[in-house]
């Protein structure tokens, strides 16, 4: 066997997985998005750009197009909530990662292990538990009312806040782990050097720690932002499906709305957004490396 053929054989499983499980389904999805919707779900094999037109325009009865921002609003909301969730996760995850990275090595392993414990329970069940805690007759409201702090239950569930909370809760470990990996490699003597050179604690964080753990910061943010953008469970269960996010909208196209082409088009838009995020970050990373940084 020639070395070339051996290489080919070696990467064959990878090619097979990427090809059959990723590329082919994506081609099917792209094809569906360009077909006509069948009234009972599925598609009719005719070319149609209707799905993409629907993203921006509403077709009136007389077939004229009118600009309709409602889907763009949902898309923008998804981006905004995912962005906010990433920011909050960063603020919550950084102190946790910093704390773990500054413990003695034998404690770190245990603490990192503890971070992964929530993954042992199904996401749906964990999120549903939050429904029980946050709802009008849930734990928080019961306590608040029993304590005389409020007469009426505070509306916690089915708000944007609940969605954000659910996303932060779900994806915080994805922020903590890469941040921890970066912080663990950080030479904390550099923090002392910064303090010695007239930095307060925040100055040392800003001028020395954050620039040096940037790779972890970027990795964590991507790992949180990308799944948040397409998150389904938290927005659906905790948002109550009123303030739609793109994932719920996509789900609706394949179920009650029975508009597969539009669902496929939406999914491709989501994919494009994710690809854009990853590309921007990869380009910036490459530029930073080219400048001779670490």
């Amino acid at each position: 066997m020639t070395p070339h053929r051996a290489t080919l054989l070696g990467i064959a499983p990878t090619l097979l997985i990427i090809g059959v499980l990723m590329v082919v389904p994506m081609i099917i999805m792209a094809a569906y998005s360009l077909m006509e919707a069948s009234s009972f779900g599925g598609v009719l094999p005719h070319f149609s750009a209707e799905a993409y037109i629907k993203l921006l325009f509403d077709r009136d009865l007389d077939d004229s197009l009118a600009f309709d921002p409602s889907y763009m609003i949902i898309l923008w909301r998804s981006l905004r909530i995912a962005g906010l969730a990433t920011l909050i996760t960063l603020c919550v995850g950084f102190p946790v990662a910093y704390f773990i990275a500054t413990r003695p090595p034998e404690q770190r392993t245990l603490l990192i292990f503890l971070i992964t414990i929530p993954f042992w329970t199904n996401l749906l069940i964990r999120t549903y538990s939050w429904v029980l805690i946050l709802r009008d007759t849930g734990l928080i409201n019961t306590v608040l009312q029993a304590g005389g702090l409020t007469d009426q239950p505070v509306k916690l569930l089915y708000t944007e806040g609940a969605i954000l909370f659910g996303l932060v809760y779900t994806y915080a470990p994805f922020m903590v782990l890469p941040l921890y990996t970066s912080l663990e490699k950080l030479d904390f003597r550099l923090v002392e050097a910064a303090r010695d050179l007239y930095c307060g604690p925040w100055g040392a964080l800003r001028h020395v720690v954050l620039p040096l753990v940037k790779p972890g910061l970027v990795a964590g943010s991507i790992l949180v932002f990308v799944p948040c953008l397409g998150a389904f469970v938290a927005p659906d269960l905790l948002g109550g499906g009123k303030e739609l996010m793109i994932s719920t909208l996509i789900q609706l196209q394949f179920t009650s709305s029975r508009n597969w082409p539009f669902g496929a088009a939406l999914a491709l838009v989501l994919l494009a957004l994710v690809m854009l995020t990853l590309t921007v970050s990869a380009v910036r990373q490459a530029r930073a490396t080219a400048e001779g940084g670490h």
């Binding site: 030479d187 003597r189 550099l190 002392e192 050097a193 910064a194 303090r195 010695d196 050179l197 007239y198 930095c199 307060g200 100055g203 001028h207 020395v208 620039p211 040096l212 001779g292 940084g293 670490h294």
Partner: protein, 357 residues
Amino acid sequence: MPQAVEIIDVVKKYGSFTALHNVTLDIRPNEFFTLLGPSGCGKTTLLRIIAGFEDITGGTLKLFGNDITALPPDRRPINTVFQHYSLFPHMTVAENVAFGLRRLKMPDAEITRRVAEMLEMIKLSSHAGRRPHQLSGGQQQRVALARALAPRPKVLLLDEPLSALDLKLRQAMRMELKTLQQQTGVTFIFVTHDQEEALAMSDRIAVLSEGRVQQIDAPQVIYEHPATRFVADFIGDANFLTAGVEQLEDGRAHCALPGGYRLIARDAGAARPGQRVSLFLRPEKLSVHDGPVEDGIGMTVRTIVYQGDATDYVVELDGGITLRSRCENRINGDPILTAGERGFLRIAPDAAKTLLD
């Protein structure tokens, strides 16, 4: 004028372990002061306390008369050259040097001027745009020095800065550091476990052992008149003998040694006749001879160790005492005596010093 640094009754405890026992010492303005001692003696702890990285359990710390005990490191006009340099890897050489100046919110023009001046001083102007990892160890060392000196600190702390360099570079840097200290007039506090380094550079040395100050003096005094057996042993080579004091005269002790030898030792201090004391003799004050000399003691050479410029002889006196002698080599480099040969040992007058344990 107040002292540059006053360390008053400073105690540092880690749990039940006491790292510093009531340390009191003054460091004078414009002085090259060295904290010398073996690892674990508390010298680095003391340096970190002066820098502000460690809290103290008790005592007071003053900088030019002002109490700085409670100030965090960023509020102390003191900068440090760290053992492993701790240069910021994400910044260029120039940015590293400018770091402290920026935090002090100096005008940009002043920062640019001073960074250029500092890089000139360390002869790395052409490397301003490089990153620390692109520099050699010696260059990194100089950048660390420039970074710490740029804000014109009142006191510069140096934590074993030469220990990571190879021998030649280390010796060159000793000279450079000493010159730099004299040029800038900044008070240097230097931490090292290397006694040669301490003797070569310091105006004064504080010798520390197990969290206690053993002696604070000029290098010559530390070397010639060590206050304790620890100092005598730690600095340079030494022979130690146990002797009985017979009589005292002009601050000298007439001592009797095993084997019937007699020796007059200086610095008798508080020794009393009849007491047993330690005598201390530097090997270079004992000379070996292949023929009879005045006051020569008969002996046999046991071992010789060639040192290049000198040779060390381990000799056994006829009375059974073993001593080490260091003699300059003769022009042709041949030893004066070889192992097993008999000869004479001469002890220079005032070579022996009394040490109270």
